[in-house]
Assembly symmetry: D4
Homo-oligomer: 208 residues x 8
């Protein structure tokens, strides 16, 4: 019988890392269609805000063709550590990035970025080696096509990363709806059109 | 040689018809994924506003399981004719709906709704028979699956409807960017994430 | 401007033709997955019952590998004309079949069968030539794959057949929910799981 | 050489857990089409009945937008433990749910629910940690899209869950057709249209 | 009402044209997978033989990279006119090809080839212009991808070609199973694995 | 019987129009994957060169986010008319563009661009109305997704445009391999990897 | 560094197990299209013959709706052990089946069957537990859909089964083309149409 | 907590193995479309050149139907060890191939080839057994279809191979853009059309 421990996200021990969601690089993402991908990234950002998780932003060559960070992220996290890497491809090779993580004292890394097999996979592998628990937010990470995505997922998974999506992250952090019903409901309604529909119909009927 | 006349949208002759985008019925739409569909419907609504097109809203049994109209539409068009049909499935069978259209004096109908083969196709066919030009906004209309969509498109097309999508509608109404560059740019940036990225990168570089 | 007349289904002028939905032939259908296809065929049959439309059943070599008619259809239409064709592939080549249609005095044929490019397309083309209006129920008809389906649809469409699906047929026959709200609601709930869910949620909330 | 033990379902040691198959939440399921998904859930329920397995039902906020449990499940298991969770997202965090499982004295959990990465994955991971064997019924569990499904499967699998589908569960519990030929045949015919066709053809020919 | 005549295949008026099914060119076909495509081409050839239809073979530059004709076709039609075109891309530009067709005195052309948008579409359009009825065997014709296929079908269809597949051709030529039950059954069993299965099961049960 | 004339491309009567293949707009194209799309556009350009067809380039707002024309096109056609439109969305609304076409004295327009439903469809419809024959190069035109593509194709087709792809255009212009075997072979080998493979294998074997 | 031993197929230590490829059950297979699946099964059978591997056939209830074994298999292996199981679903629960395997003295099981998650997965898991090396021939095994296939593959893989396809099996058994060039070439040409084309073109050119 | 070491590519310890990218075998590749596949293979070759990695070429029966190596590879690596294997299917069974690898003194093998489950998987498994670290370049390796690819990936992954794609390999070798910005930028622009577009737009704007 299998008694593996359940590595469970804990809102007092998690930090969110958003890696290279830059305007130029986003045009490379073709394994998720753009409306859905944009929504997923903003949903993850809203999740970070909702749970007051420390959040770290980083970019690669933002003054070149890779382009600036999505302005929504800059606006949402004005006080977050923001590491514009001078050249390191693997964000973990940048000391300021690792220091920013360590400064939080947290051990669970919630990680998303563009493109998956590089900007997500490289720091994921480094972080696992360094003893962190890594939770990849797969649907807020994007890459060229399904083949590159699939290879990237397998490499990270084989190394011990946990594959998740933004809604699972939000629910695992929340644990119990009673913690803040209104808040989680709003998060869902803003980023899951089907859930918005459920709420619209429900409240209309209640109002009768 | 073929000299078919080009039936071209004219912003002084067009009216927008939004049929049955109701919270319950939206859960039936499975030929477009929800993030994209919601975006398309709101993009069409924004297009109607941007060109000051007369817009008519209608619903079917909104107090039953079909549910209320998407609240965004109600909010955007507070003064639009709003026909809550008491039972007619084909909106064209409802006199108030047809009167609202005729009251605009316009002959070009820009039509979208849920579900495509019923709420869109039935009034499209009736309107063509009544001498109107019908432009179906295919990506702001949804239905159960690709087979139902494909059959619906073919029936409307065989009757003479023009198949379009929201972006083509916007561009054909605009004719020339110089009419309002800022306005069309904002419309695109708000509803086409890839276009937003282009603008973000462009403006960042200009600012240097 | 286009003033094509709208060929609209009329419940006093329509007859339903179910062609070769036989247990053996059903194993050939691979352009729709089996759960959905079975549901669509039964939904069309329920539609025929709900509107009291004359319905005609026919089979091809049912004592051979093609197998017997789906038992549900036999049970639902015990008094319907049932033409077990001795060899004609195109049901229209069978005099008894055409006579059964003519005996109804109706001119609108609602047609579905297996396989689409043969058992549906051949009688569709013959019926159009004979002056009938033909409405193909595309999602209650099945064939080997998407290529055969697509070719079959195009051939029928080019000849003047109207492509529909069972839900569109039901709604066009109904015209107005007030004709029988309960009846149409039940039909929908029994064959559209998403609609069943809407009704379940609605009634639960009403009961509070 | 590999001598892994075969964790095999045993009808004297298994319990079925149906988590959050609620009318509202079902509208979120888009990785399986609705006809097939509804059939799979009912097939799993019929399997539980056929083998007289203890079955436990649970829901999340059923008086809110998530909506009531599928009425078919309520009707089929009138005497089953039914835990309407007041707020816990992970059913395993609800003591009554875990107590109901422990009260059966069984160690093999056959688990399905909506949505996969939350309502299935969270209790699956908790149960594995607690020493249970977990068998996920993948085709009776649903979620937003293929990406969320794929990530959820990988996380559960990495933790030691066995990925199964309802038909495999039924066959592994049955072990030998001779245990009850009629019963298993009926279960298959009711939920596998292709198998129904085989039986129809077979019996028709036998009757000759 | 629509009274279009039904252009129906007649085995006394049809001729089969197999255009450029050459070993090299076959490697370009990627809109149908190879096992299925090979089967379809041979099924069409068997159909031609079964109905004793005059059949004409033609190739393009068979001594160059395009390669020799599929050896199965050469073997099946040793006495058929065989036009190795010295350079004309549109077979209709080759006088010997057109003469061979005219020599049959037949007006219905059953046409398949590789690649669809060139080797099939060009002679199809020329033949229509010359007053022939053209029936394209879509699933025995192949091309680079779905986009090229789709464009080719539309161009031919708009010009008046009938889109068919080999099984539809065979059934329309046969008209009545009683013409030769054994023959048509064998044709089906050899080229439709699912039909072979039906016959295997049927005969096994009969033998009991 | 159908005697439609075959509208056939003639290298003395055709002109190539490349509309808005700009670096920014190309990031919007998601109905064809980028490697294939880039290849198709360059293949069409090479075809224009190979047949010495007059070619006209046009762009929309190239100094803004839409970006500059693909540099390969600028380099290949240094002497071609190049119309940088100051604002007209439909290139046909720009007098210089129409004049450039009329100056060639040609009546067949080979047209490709980005995005299909706007930059291709609008001038296509205008040109048909003006009495030109329009041949759309579908695989050198791109847009947001399959739904927008499909709608665009249908609208153009209904107006009388011919749907083609670059390889069909090249073959219809060439008519006979003997016109220039080497040239057409090179064109194919450079843009169809499978054809390159055939030639590599063929020549290697010849060299033995 | 990883030094896992390579479990490599050895033609002196392998036995082929064909489980339940029965005419009725084949109609359940919908994760591979029928032409390809039939070809794969026969290719595996030819592989077994080519390498003189001991081969064991087994069926489940072949006198009922499951139907008789594919006649091609019966004809190819007239002297093979043939175990018509009286009721055991897992072939490993049938003593005669296990005895037949043990009688060969071989430890490597090459296993294929219908349906994958039951008739393949159950004996695969049992065999691994019993100390055999299991090589699943994935493309000669079929099931209801991609979800059932994917779950079945994961369960077997987690237990230590090697996932292979018929061509990989043949190549690993062959080791060196020189062992029998003609034989392997014929096997490939008969079951890989693209390889047949290569050989046709090659030999035609050699003959010049 | 998981502390797996990160097996990271090191440009002083890696060697590139290109196995059987031959003109004939390439026609078998159908799991990636040809334009993309050709680009990926050349991108990997360019990556090898850019990092001055030792590169080894090998072929199987290049004088037979498998055909000669892609001429681009021969041209790019004129001095690379080139092992034309006389018959061994697994390149690792060829002593010259293994010696060439060992002669480099490197332990990290970057491996790609055609077809994936044979020419890639066999040497990958052998190399792992021999103590090498294996990095499979999945998108520069091709095979018959998705099923064969998926099975091949799983077998290699279970043995400890790392699944990568060419862009991930290039980035992991580069480590820091500052090592050679121009060089990596050129590599990306030449093989990622979307990246080329970003650079075109960026430089055009800079030039203003």
């Amino acid at each position: 019988m299998n008694h593996n421990p359940y590595l469970r996200l804990d809102r007092d021990n998690a930090v969110v890392l958003l890696v290279d969601h830059q305007a130029g690089l986003l045009s490379l993402v073709r394994d998720i269609e753009p409306d859905r991908f944009k929504n997923n990234v903003l949903a993850l950002a809203d999740t970070a805000k909702f749970f007051d998780l420390p959040t770290i932003l980083t970019t690669s060559f933002e003054t070149g063709p890779n382009g600036p960070l999505m302005p929504e992220l800059t606006a949402m996290f004005p006080d977050a550590p923001y590491i514009a890497r001078p050249g390191q491809i693997n964000a973990w090779d940048n000391d300021a990035f690792v220091e920013a993580i360590k400064a939080t004292g947290r051990k669970q890394l919630i990680l998303a970025g563009v493109v998956t097999e590089v900007c997500v996979a490289f720091p994921a592998l480094s972080a696992i080696e360094a003893g962190f628990e890594v939770f990849v937010v797969a649907d807020a990470s994007g890459t060229f096509n399904e083949i590159t995505r699939d290879a990237a997922w397998r490499r990270m998974e084989a190394a011990g990363a946990q594959m998740m999506t933004w809604f699972g992250v939000a629910c695992e952090l929340q644990r119990d709806w009673r913690r803040d019903i209104e808040g989680l409901g709003t998060l869902c309604a803003n980023h899951i059109p089907d859930y918005r529909n459920l709420m619209t119909a429900f409240h209309a009927q209640q109002a009768k």
